[in-house]
């Protein structure tokens, strides 16, 4: 088992490095403004551009720049470890800003995760148990709606309804939990729901399908033949095989939210890492883009690993050597 984990971790490292290399190449290959011009001001004379290049670390050849980036990443730079350098745009060290933004996105993602798992699994299970009932049809209709409605539309609709019309939501923005827990919650519940609704719908459908398969399994018949109550048949025998694949899905989806919640972050003005990197890419701010890429890649690969290992615990047929 430990051998397996070590091997996976090493491979994850390789993957993360490859991703950063790709991001680096994309930044320079895709047509965009040369940073030495973009950040040089009104008249980008060669002297000013040389100064800017030196300041931003662009005065080396591109391969060397990449190697310096990797070196700073592993060994840290003048701002600490890991060394993400400073933003071209704000000239600030990126590390602090990135981790505080990551925290916001994590808050958003975890809250949404809890909601969509609870909602998705319960709706899916109930729909399967009461197949073809009015509840089932209603739930699947809701699922279709949830999958089809874009997040930004749902978000703006939610804001309009709860903030403008009903006045029970304080609107966009973020308030730290330590500053005011109640205010924090008030600002977060609507983004949570909006972000969760799409996934809840998808998961409800998946869980329903899986549950229907499980309901027809032989071991369910055996459980009933043992005299187990219907309630325990559902809880002990049906839920585990249904939820196991869903949990691995959820792990990946959660990791993807690290970069992927950008639309929700923009609509609700939450200073998350998705909005951070979106701004940075639009402004050709390479260090921020690279830093966020690293964080997101690390997250996804680690989450992958965790999910795979966790599945082995839930389903003993899956074992790693």
């Amino acid at each position: 088992m430990w051998q397996y984990i070590i091997r996976r971790l090493v491979w994850s490292l390789v993957v993360v490095l490859l991703v950063t290399l790709l991001a680096f190449i994309i930044f320079y290959v895709l047509p965009s403004t040369d940073p030495t011009i973009a950040f040089a001001g009104k008249q980008p004379t060669p002297e000013i551009r040389a100064e800017v290049a030196k300041n931003l670390g662009l005065n080396h050849s591109k391969p060397v720049q990449y190697l310096i980036f990797v070196k700073h990443l592993f060994l840290g730079d003048q701002y600490g470890w890991p060394g993400f350098g400073k933003s071209f745009n704000s000239r600030e060290p990126i590390k602090g800003e990135m981790f505080s933004r990551l925290l916001v996105t994590l808050q958003l993602a975890i809250g949404a995760l809890i909601i969509w798992l609870t909602l998705g699994i319960s709706i899916g299970v109930l729909s399967a148990l009461k197949r073809r009932s009015a509840m089932d049809r209603g739930a699947m209709g809701f699922a279709l709606l949830g999958i089809s409605t874009p997040v930004f539309f749902l978000g703006i609709l939610g804001l309009y309804l709860f903030w403008k019309v009903l006045g029970i939501n304080p609107g966009t923005g973020y308030v730290g939990f330590r500053d005011n827990p109640w205010d924090w919650f008030q600002h977060m519940w609507l983004p949570w729901v909006v972000l969760a609704l799409l996934s809840a719908a998808v998961y409800a459908r998946i869980v329903r399908g899986t549950m229907l398969d499980v309901m027809g399994e032989d071991y369910v018949r055996t459980a009933r033949a043992k005299g187990v109550s219907e309630r325990n048949v559902v809880i002990r025998h049906m839920l585990r095989p249904t939820i196991a694949p869903v949990l691995t899905l959820a792990g990946i989806d959660f990791a993807l939210l690290i970069g992927g919640a950008v639309v929700t972050e923009s609509v609700f003005n939450l200073p998350g890492i998705g909005a951070y990197v979106l701004d940075a890419v639009g402004q050709n701010d390479l260090p921020v883009a690279m830093g966020v890429t690293v964080i997101a890649a690390v997250f996804v690969t680690i989450m992958n690993l965790i999910v795979d290992i966790a599945y082995g615990f839930v389903d003993p047929r899956v074992r790693y050597t």
Binding site: S32, T33, K42, Q43, P44, N89, R91, D279
Partner: protein, 617 residues
């Protein structure tokens, strides 16, 4: 100038062609709808602003900021300069007045020496709380001359004797700056520079404390530690430990990705300032980032936010312009900005002046204005720099190229590219002409109009719509030889026409990052160096005229440049200006009566605005 601002401004004013002409803003230029509506200013309260993006060009370091908003905030709130502005709309806002100096000096008889006397009782705010001296201003100039700080306008200061030597590291001080005592500072120039006093009004020339600013030698780093000499300072500046460079920590009132907060500067003495220039009514100013653009303007309308420097989306502008209750909250002022097309003097068929004049006559500017959104967005441009830059002295009815297809045909007939002289361009050079423009709504709306206009004289362009920064990069690369483009615009650095004619100076042509897109004043050797063709008849130049005018001071300077403008329009004919843009913003019910426009920066005059606290939500 202010390229960045346009990205936000114009992108959001998308498709404002929906705004019906005649509603709201009235004729462009310097109209204002509902300025300070006569009510008495209220003292106190908080001015709450939001933006999608600060857009600072040097992270708020005064040495490197060059866009209007950075200048406005610094000049109004934090960085007093020897001479400054009244922070008011129109011409009164473009006139230099004394700020830290006791008066606006005239140069010496030979035009090479400028002497300033600094007022008593002017101090740096927390945490320093000390008197400002002439050495602080000398230090600011040294920062401009320090290459690693990438100052933005070194060319306005490089005529100071010893500037270059300091820049090259050959001298420890700038010999041309003399500080005989704490309150006197004298500048000796190596050659006449008529707009030198304007240069001293930029934030880069404001006094900076060596004990704090001297700790930062890289561009942008000082931005979070700016020590104020103005009526406001960053919240939390009193907590800054300035005992040494190592103890400095960023001031809490400025978080580059989240917000800026200003509170009153206790060291500021209003008696040393002009209350009309800096009213300083509000106690606090908050400026927050909100990534949801629509949300910003919803909040302004609801009154939970007071204003934004961002241009509102077109539907918001239309709503305000057509609503009787909201009309007065839509604030429109001349933006001191020209949108123009240019023709490359070295690429056929535009290397022939008759073709260029024909194009100028054939362009229907009224249609282009409609495509942009009608009179709300700006007035039709008929010369290079807007009226305000000439302090209202430019002849009001000047229009060298009124829309006239007959005249266009007549010009074309005289061109070698019209082989059969029928008024229509028919040589092969008249077809498949590469035409660069932006892929934003107003520009996309203009493209078919331009194509139709040019088709009438036989010129067929192939438009290429690009994102803003790519469009600029394309035309800025001289070797690309882009013949004609419509994506460019320019606004003043300060109310001096020289700041426009830097774009038409042949000596400023670069291989990349070039701003003289038409290659006006190109020499034969430059043509070889930059790999562009050199037309047989040569390329017209304004260099000598620019030099003549640059040595003069106002008002002769202004009139001199007016003639350069006319010459550019009539004899060079590279630029085809079409719009003098307006600044369009919305104000909340609490701000609408206290809203003031700062003509110098092209932004709100935050320092002169007041809020009706009873109307704030």
């Amino acid at each position: 100038m202010k390229k960045r601002r346009w990205v936000i401004a114009t992108a959001l004013a998308a498709g404002a062609g929906l705004v019906v002409a005649g509603c709201g803003g009235g004729s462009g230029g310097s109209s204002s709808t509902g300025g300070s509506g006569g009510a008495t200013p209220q003292k106190g309260g908080t001015l709450r602003l939001e933006t999608q993006d600060f857009g600072y060009t040097d992270a708020f370091d005064p040495t490197g900021e060059y866009l209007g908003l950075g200048w406005g905030l610094l000049n109004q709130l934090m960085t007093r300069t020897l001479v400054g502005y009244a922070h008011r709309p129109n011409e009164p806002g473009n006139v230099l007045i004394p700020d830290l100096a006791e008066s606006v000096p005239a140069p010496s008889a030979d035009g090479l020496t400028y002497a300033f006397k600094i007022k008593q009782g002017v101090k740096f705010g927390p945490p320093l709380n000390r008197e400002i001296t002439s050495k602080d201003i000398a230090f600011a100039i040294e920062r401009i001359a320090t290459p690693s700080l990438a100052a933005q306008y070194p060319n306005y200061f490089q005529n100071i004797a010893g500037f270059k030597a300091f820049s090259d590291g050959k001298a420890k001080t700038i010999t041309g700056i003399q500080t005989p005592d704490d309150k006197t500072i004298t500048f000796k120039l190596t050659k006449k520079q008529g707009n030198f006093v304007y240069a001293m009004a930029t934030p880069a020339a404001s006094p900076m404390p060596r004990e704090v600013a001297g700790c930062f030698t890289k561009a942008g780093d000082y931005g979070r530690y700016v020590i104020s000499s103005g009526p406001y300072t960053f919240a939390g500046s009193d907590k800054l430990d300035a005992s040494s460079c190592k103890t400095l920590k960023p001031i809490s009132g400025f978080n580059p990705t989240k917000n800026q907060t200003w509170v009153r500067n206790p060291a500021y003495d209003p008696a040393t300032d002009d209350p009309k220039a800096r009213g300083a009514y509000v106690d606090k100013i908050t400026y927050d980032i909100n990534t949801n653009a629509k949300d910003i303007f919803d909040k302004i309308e609801a009154g939970t936010v007071d204003g934004s420097p961002d241009t509102p989306p077109s539907d918001v502008i239309q709503k305000y312009a057509t609503s009787s209750s909201l009309k007065n909250d839509l604030k429109i002022y001349s933006g001191d900005r020209t949108w123009y097309m240019y023709m490359n003097l070295t690429t056929p068929p535009f290397d022939d002046i008759h073709v260029r004049k024909a194009v100028s006559y054939a362009t229907n500017k009224a249609d282009l204005q409609k495509a942009w959104g009608g009179p709300v967005s700006g007035s039709i441009a008929t010369h290079i720099a807007p009226q305000t830059v000439y302090h209202d002295r430019f002849p009001k009815d000047y229009d060298p190229y009124p829309y006239d297809l007959t005249k266009a045909a007549d010009e074309m007939k005289q061109s070698k590219y019209d082989t059969n002289q029928d008024g229509v361009c028919d040589a092969s050079a008249c077809k498949n002409i590469f035409f660069v423009t932006r892929n934003l709504p107003q520009w996309s709306a203009m493209t078919p109009i331009t194509q139709a206009n040019l088709a009438k004289i036989g010129i067929a362009v192939t438009p290429r719509e690009l994102p803003t920064s790519n469009a600029y990069t394309t035309i800025q690369t001289t070797a690309n030889k882009v013949p004609i483009a419509a994506n460019a615009g320019w606004s003043k650095d300060f109310a001096d026409a020289a700041t426009f004619f830097v774009l038409q100076d042949g000596r400023n042509i670069l291989a990349t990052g070039n701003s003289n897109y038409g290659l006006i004043g190109l020499t034969a050797s430059q043509a070889t160096k930059f790999k562009v063709p050199y037309p047989a008849g040569g390329v017209p130049s304004l260099d000598a005229d620019i030099d003549t005018c640059s040595a003069l001071t106002d008002p002769e300077r202004i009139d001199c440049f007016i003639n350069v403008d006319k010459k550019s329009m009539e004899q060079v004919v590279s630029w085809l200006p079409y719009l003098f843009a307006n600044s369009v913003e919305t104000a909340s019910p609490a701000l609408t009566n206290g809203y003031v426009f700062d003509q110098n920066s092209g932004e709100q005059a935050f320092v002169n605005e007041w809020v009706d606290q009873s109307k704030q939500k």
